[in-house]
Symmetry: C2
Subunit: 284 residues, 2 copies
């Protein structure tokens, strides 16, 4: 069996790679990219079979950049998953915590562990370009007085040890990821029939009073339940808004099909991104 | 006349300080804080007269953390403004670009200037904890082979020179800021009657099919136009959703008052955050 190649943004050991493990188990090959546009181009050029991209975070909101890429490519969402962002203190095996003088990580991660730094004033915060990359650097440089802050996966990948688990201030930090494939991809996942279907779409309407109301009426009139709605002004088109919408149901369900046809009557553009099983709600 | 003290998150020279200048001109005293929760606590304890906080960014989405703080405090929005995120290459006065070997900044800013780094492979990217802080460090250390990437305001504050203006890849990067004050604050801004009123609110509804539709009906039935709507699952309360909503109009307009009363009949919670003049749409 050929191993699937799955693109993602970041270094090996990034949280996106954790999402890939949740999507496909360990039987796929993660292919790192520096930037999100490169992840999408890689999929477009069939250099990878699928990609895992973050789409929203409980603290930082929707990743508009990736919604933009979804708008400009014809890919299909195969699955969603939620990854809890757990920050671990990671060092060389055998190094004890009292030896640690410097802690490297991405500033966003450092800022999410301020209680840890307040409780340990003897360690210095050092900014690094990447979370998983901080572990890579500590290991490659052979530093025994430094640690990185990254995922447990990063510790495993670089042969490092976790000194302290879950040092993040807020344990309710989750990122939602999509697994994307080309429209004609034959890639299928195990179908967990215990979970309800979800369908994601993008559409734009002109900002006339009530246009959003009419858009939502197409679903409400057919008892279709919504899981997410978000508006965003469309760049360079004053008074036109782009909407992100997730509904409960499959795009081929009859009420959903009717609602989509009705919605298409007055939207400027409408793109169904895919139907997939809802991720299990993690405990928050 | 007593100078107003305005709290913000970041170092002196941060984009939040640019927002303060846009709100109040140069006649206020910016008061830096390390974290957003400290900004809100500072306002609660009356250590500052008002605060400027980022609420959404065109690339990175809504700042949920600050919406959460708005939910848990009783502050009022006095004004909104949009700041274009312009990244400048900033060094010691007299230093020429060909002397620069290292460029410091926050990784998010470094990643927003990748075209510049691709065109200038002789300079090394160095991650720093803050954009404005990178200029502060270059100046304090007296480095003549290093530059920071930050706002023009940071260059002015630290007595540095702009070597290159606007090196960001995407010029359509804007952050929207709110100016907040305690509910009984007497602080008033000049009223620009040429701009329409906007009103922001937070409300939560149970996730029953059509609940959002009913919520929006209260506005649509009264021809009240919406400028933003965003849903977010409420932490720890499955099936209950929090909505961010901006409408065009003042909370004391009769149709808006009627809509809000109607909305309150079936929302779990409803908080009007304030009415303010809409920011001028910047050229994108």
């Amino acid at each position: 069996v050929k191993t699937l190649r799955i693109g993602f943004q970041g270094e090996l050991g990034a949280f996106s790679q954790q999402a890939i493990v949740q999507f496909l188990g360990a039987k796929s090959t993660p292919v790192p990219h520096q930037r999100f546009d490169q992840v999408f181009t890689s999929l477009k050029n069939r250099q990878v079979d699928a990609v895992a991209i973050p789409i929203e975070n409980t603290l930082h909101g929707s990743v508009h950049e990736n919604y933009d890429h979804l708008l400009h490519h014809e890919f299909r969402i195969l699955a969603e998953t939620r990854v809890r962002i757990v920050h671990n203190l990671i060092a060389h095996p055998g190094v004890s915590f009292r030896k640690i003088k410097r802690v490297l990580s991405h500033p966003v991660a450092l800022n999410q562990c301020l209680d840890f730094f307040a409780a340990n004033p003897q360690v210095e915060k050092v900014t690094h370009y990447d979370t998983a990359g901080s572990v890579k650097t500590v290991m490659e440089e052979g530093w025994t007085d430094a640690a990185g802050i990254a995922s447990a996966l990063a510790a495993a990948i670089y042969g490092a040890s976790i000194l302290k688990k879950g040092i993040e201030d807020d344990h309710r930090n989750f990122t939602r990821f999509f697994l994307l494939a080309p429209p004609k991809s034959k890639l299928t996942l195990q179908d967990d029939t215990s979970r309800p279907w979800k369908t994601s779409m993008l559409f734009s309407v002109r900002n006339v009073p009530g246009s959003l109301f009419r858009a939502l009426a197409t679903f409400a009139l057919r008892d279709v339940s919504l899981a997410k709605i978000e508006s965003r002004p469309l760049r360079g088109r004053p008074w036109e808004y782009l909407f992100y919408l997730d509904l409960m149901g499959h795009a081929e369900d009859e009420p959903v099909q009717n609602a989509l046809r009705h919605l298409g009557e007055f939207t400027e553009s409408l793109r169904v991104l895919g139907s997939y099983r809802a991720a299990a709600e993690s405990i928050e």
